[in-house]
Symmetry: C2
Subunit: 361 residues, 2 copies
């Protein structure tokens, strides 16, 4: 495809694949898209290992790294209150999952310091993009990336945030609608994208949220986006490391089966509705979710245990298990190789544009 | 434009304009679109007058009528409880609007009986479409329209409802995303439309929700819709009878200033966030909204008074005043003739498709 962003990033097709799984990143990049590794779950050493593996797979084709840089947090010294520990322990017990909360180690990387360390590691590899998932990119991140000649992308959910991100130095804006999985705002992709495109022009905009097919990609680009940023669609691919119990729930889910909940990270994030989200969001005894990163520290340690039990087929754990995913989960009903997903999107994208062109003669 | 639905309905451009204002309906039809008069606010006699006026304006060009047929209601004999009357009176008093609740007369037309009467009136005019805004069209409505050779359109917010509407006899499905104004579901247009298109093919689908520009129209048709159904964009046109105080709020609003609330009709409906929605949805003393039609009976009588006071510039009333509108309200910042809105959408639609065609060479 001939577009400014394709030329700038050296990509054949402006389809950006966000994934925590290196295999997905490499497969999409090798199929002509642009894989972006979500690095929040990794230590600096692990990230280095993952990126070296990707380097060996993609033969110089472009890929990127996404770090979670929270705008404000409660600080690393805050601890999870007893009320929230006991609610979590009690909740897991009711569903037959033994658990003694001992949160540690995870919160550190969701901080400006942790993010900077990950960016340093990333820039030692031939990455083509650094993305910031939450809040404006910190000045240090921008200057490090600039010095290395790597463009910075930033995710936004409002026009106001888009303007702020560009002022802070973002080279590419990812406008993410409420239908997206993970941290997301309230405005739908259909409404958000054209407003962001107009507000930040000539800065290129990628559309995110509600995009898992070629028709949806064509729609996003009709709105003025120069490409699309997809996350959910990779979660049910062959390569994805999504736990089987969660993958099965995703394949069976309809688009009504997600909820925007603070129960996993402390900030509103769209995910599969499950007994976990129901208990935190509307349970009578719920203490209400904590802020970020404390709720994330607590939830990640609990959900790690839940998923272990769900993978053994324990029914209570299966009811609790969930993961971040967008409303497109209702379209995902088959496990496919990531490469096939890319090829099908490219083909359907072309068909959609041809159909539109015929309408106008 | 050459498309099946344009030929079937005798329209130049598949842009459907839902409005309670006859001037908007006539202006859009005369500009090459398809005006649809929202008839719920009218008595049978008033509707007859409005349609005769439209007939005289449009010279045989196509237009339609939309009636609100609720699936289930609390029945016409239920009355508004004292707790809700006193909450409403107290709320308006706090904002300086004298009010003594005496709901009567409105609820009748939001019933299958009332809707049938309106359909009878409509079918005495040369209407080209009958639409049903809530729930499957009742068998009588379908048979009356069929006999008159008039297609029936039905609004849906889920794939399941789309299937049920087609089984009940709908000839055209309007798939409406959560970003839409008025009664709306939870699934965004970007996700809903392709799923509905695939589920009901070959029944034609119009997209609604988040569409107020040519780019958004092109996006909706890239998703597989054969046309678009727009409501919000007409509310700030010159012709619209939107009260000036509410129009000003709409012109100033961003896309974050709407809320999906049960406070005006008893069912979730997107509208401007205001002191009214805040008091009902999260006020400490709120009794919670009633069901439909009781909440509608109560809210309409109160809001009529609120708007009168807001039009006189009373600041408390301005804080309470609102109206149904979608997230596209953030795009509406100028009063324009409806005809100009249509022409601008047609032009931008063509530009968007040309831009997409150039991408793929």
């Amino acid at each position: 495809m001939r577009s400014a962003i394709c030329e700038r990033l050296g990509v054949e097709f402006p389809l950006f694949a966000f994934s925590h799984c290196r295999d997905v990143v490499a497969a999409v990049t090798n199929a002509g898209g642009f894989g972006v590794l979500g690095a929040v779950a990794y230590s600096a050493e692990q990230l280095d290992t993952e990126l070296s593996w990707i380097d060996a797979q993609v033969g110089g084709r472009p890929y990127g790294v996404d770090v979670l840089v929270p705008g404000r947090t409660e600080g690393p010294r805050a601890t999870v209150p007893e009320s929230h520990l006991s609610f979590t322990t009690g909740l897991l017990q009711r569903y037959g999952v033994p658990f003694a909360a001992s949160p540690a180690g995870f919160g550190d990387r969701v901080s400006a310091r942790g993010a900077t360390e990950l960016i340093e590691v990333a820039l030692r590899h031939p990455v083509g993009l650094i993305a910031s998932a939450l809040g404006p990119p910190p000045p240090q991140m921008v200057s490090m990336a600039r010095e290395a000649g790597v463009p910075v992308a930033a995710l936004v959910g409002t026009v106001e945030h888009a303007r702020r991100q560009v002022e802070a130095g973002a080279d590419i804006v990812v406008a993410q609608g409420t239908e997206a999985g993970g941290h997301t705002g309230e405005i739908a992709t259909m409404v958000l994208v054209p407003q962001v495109v107009d507000a930040v022009a000539p800065v290129p905009v990628l559309a995110a949220g509600g995009i898992a097919s070629g028709r949806q990609m064509a729609a996003a680009m009709a709105l003025g986006a120069e490409g699309v940023w997809c996350g959910s669609v990779w979660l049910t691919t062959e390569e994805a490391e999504t736990p089987q119990s969660v993958k099965r729930k995703m394949l069976a889910a309809s688009s009504l089966d997600t909820v925007r909940s603070r129960s996993r990270t402390g900030k509103p994030a769209r995910q599969l509705a499950s007994a976990w989200t129901a208990a935190w969001d509307s349970g009578e005894d719920s203490p209400g979710p904590l802020g970020m990163p404390l709720q994330m520290v607590l939830a990640e340690s609990a959900m790690a245990r839940v998923v272990q039990a769900a993978e053994r087929g324990e029914p209570g754990a299966v009811e609790l298990a969930n993961y971040f995913v967008g409303q497109v989960v209702g379209q995902l009903d088959q496990v496919k190789p990531a490469r096939q997903v890319v090829y099908e999107m490219i083909e359907e994208f072309g068909d959609a544009i041809e159909r539109l062109s015929r309408l106008t003669g």
